[in-house]
Symmetry: C2
Subunit: 322 residues, 2 copies
Amino acid sequence: MSKFWSDYPIIEKEIDAVSSIIAKNAKCKDKVIESSILDLLNSGGKMLRPAFTIIASKFGNYNEERSRALASVMEMFHMATLVHDDIIDEAEFRRGKETVQSKYGKNYAVYIGDFLFCLCFRVLATTSSIERGIDVDTQVMSRICLGEIEQLNSRFDKNVSVKDYLKRTSGKTAELFSLSLYIGAAESSCDKKICRLFWNIGHNIGMAFQIIDDILDYTATDEELGKKSGNDLKEGIYTLPLILAMKKNPSVFENILNKDNYSNEEIDMIINIVKNNNGIDDAMKIANKYSQKAFRDINKLPDNEYRDILLGVVTKLLERSY
Amino acid sequence: MSKFWSDYPIIEKEIDAVSSIIAKNAKCKDKVIESSILDLLNSGGKMLRPAFTIIASKFGNYNEERSRALASVMEMFHMATLVHDDIIDEAEFRRGKETVQSKYGKNYAVYIGDFLFCLCFRVLATTSSIERGIDVDTQVMSRICLGEIEQLNSRFDKNVSVKDYLKRTSGKTAELFSLSLYIGAAESSCDKKICRLFWNIGHNIGMAFQIIDDILDYTATDEELGKKSGNDLKEGIYTLPLILAMKKNPSVFENILNKDNYSNEEIDMIINIVKNNNGIDDAMKIANKYSQKAFRDINKLPDNEYRDILLGVVTKLLERSY
């Protein structure tokens, strides 16, 4: 497991319990299916989404069994999208470990992702409280898929705007952060104002988190990332640092970004141009704006131990350099 | 639309309404997403699963809006699995039309399938009656994915038994037929005995239907199928005709089925050996057993117009040669 939560044993314990639920759901006669899901589960992800569900659920009438089950849904949905993303990226490694598609083949990864989607809806259907319904959850999940498709459609498109980027990021990342916090609060019967506040906190954490992730693709080493750096660029995914640098100095990119395939030397060159045109710093400024909004809203939450935990982990998360 | 239902205008009208629901759900700012779903919807599928949901719902307190919505869920789930199956098969054509993966690429097909899964759960979550819950539905959906994975894992495995084949077929095809009928009956408050009867009818229709489908891969022309015949064999999917022929005459297959790639000539040769060893006739006998069971149970249903329709279409379906 990731050491991310080691300063918060109370959350670490919950995450262990959530992992056990996922492992139990992955139990399967077919040992390859089971072990590929367990591999993914134990690959050292930070388990942010389930932790957020647990934390938010502590602000209301905490129901251990239900909160943990819903937390597992958030992680299984995330895992399903990761498995399918790795097919698209033809990624060999994630978090330093071989991906499902690399180990068992693309075809297998398609179905393992589908199986995870079904598992996630199954647990959601059996644990959500009847009053609340799961229409919000399933709407969010649709929007996440749309975000992925938008990203795919805008590959190698040098006309992508900051607005396009923010919209896509909102869909593919921030929505699930919002849902993870919201579902925890709503299912423990927090009042509507608190639920909405959690939704917004999730959005702003998610936006800042994804922008920082995209910056790290430009600045971190392969070892720090657990996968190849410059990978987004290679895949034609133009993220905020590049978009901002292009906006500042369009002419320098004119003759570079007109293909749909870059050599490693070209990638290094583009990364340097982005850095020289303040792409990293300007992107960081936007990430900070989202972070500040998140912190402002977290401070509006009722003052308790879990608010402090949330403040602590969000600080840690948004200041990470790996 | 397929002409399959033209003798039953009462069902044809319902299917039109179900198609409109799917089209409405597919509405999307991104026109490529929308049109790829509409292409699939209008590609001339028989819309069996939604028709079954409608028919079964007529045996209870028929609620037009709810039955049609649930019928659309059955078809959207089916569409999602088709899009993903075509990735695995690298299929260029389905029902004589270009597949999503062939037209827009594999990556796109992964996400379009995911989007359809999410749509399907979304409609399910918002229309299922609260009392019934959707745990049965989501369990079935998981089992369907497992059936697909099992099929994938048993590719080019010449030790696959009749039992393995029937189990896999039950998962990947019959379960959704069962669910389509069951959900219609259960959501219109039929009594439990009738719901169970529909479940069994769906199982037996589904088994017979899939066996016949697998036989057609050996006997029909490309034009009749709307895709390449012999495709299962080429993909290493050993179906009932081959399994039965192997059982009857193992030695003749010994030196043929020991690779994981066949030329067109080898495919033709295997098809002939299967035919010469009664693989087709013996498989047809098993299909007929399932058909008989289905007819026996349909006759146990309350005598009404919809029972007659069900008898009529199942006869037509199980006697088809295309």
